[in-house]
């Protein structure tokens, strides 16, 4: 993945960089990074909430809890995003 980064950039020409291609690549990289960030934090939070004492397997009730926790975490993420966005909008209007 890291090896592909430099070589994928700017295509096969070598010298000339294609801005359109770079932008596309950057967008993909950003999307991947954000997904990883969300996954990591969500796993951490839902593990804490749903796994009391780690048993021999992930039992049914734990799986249900994790599924619910994931959905609520996404709700929370979206609520926070909206709240932050409206705060920014308000502050911009007051400037």
């Amino acid at each position: 993945m890291e090896g592909g980064f430099g070589s994928d950039f700017g295509g096969s020409g070598g010298g000339k960089l294609d801005p359109g291609l770079i932008m596309e690549q950057v967008k993909v990289q950003i999307a991947v990074a954000n997904a990883q960030e969300l996954l990591q934090r969500m796993t951490d939070k839902c593990f804490r909430k749903c796994i009391g004492k780690p048993g021999g397997s992930l039992d049914n009730s734990e799986q249900k809890c994790i599924a619910m926790c994931m959905d609520r975490y996404m709700d929370a993420w979206n609520t926070v995003s909206r709240a932050y966005n409206s705060r920014l909008q308000r502050e911009r209007a007051n400037m």
């Binding site: 954000n34 939070k45 609520r72 975490y73 709240a83 920014l88």
Partner: protein
Amino acid sequence: MDSSSSSSATGLGSVDPQLQHFIEVETQKQRFQQLVHQMTELCWEKCMDKPGPKLDSRAEACFVNCVERFIDTSQFILNRLEQTQKSKPVFSESLSD
């Protein structure tokens, strides 16, 4: 690391303005997203008890307040640091030592 030095060899003045604008916008968006990740994690601890079948209105209000107060806190600290720096610059002294 090699690719960055070779691309900068073309000269900073010749950076595609469209690309530069793109980077600025994406950096801004990324800063926003990063703070959303951070605040979601923080407010989750404060506002979430047991995850239920839906986000109830009490929790939702808590999240909104949590975001507002987090930003208030950040601004308060920034302002107060600025004020204290003006009267007695603690930072520069300790940093120059």
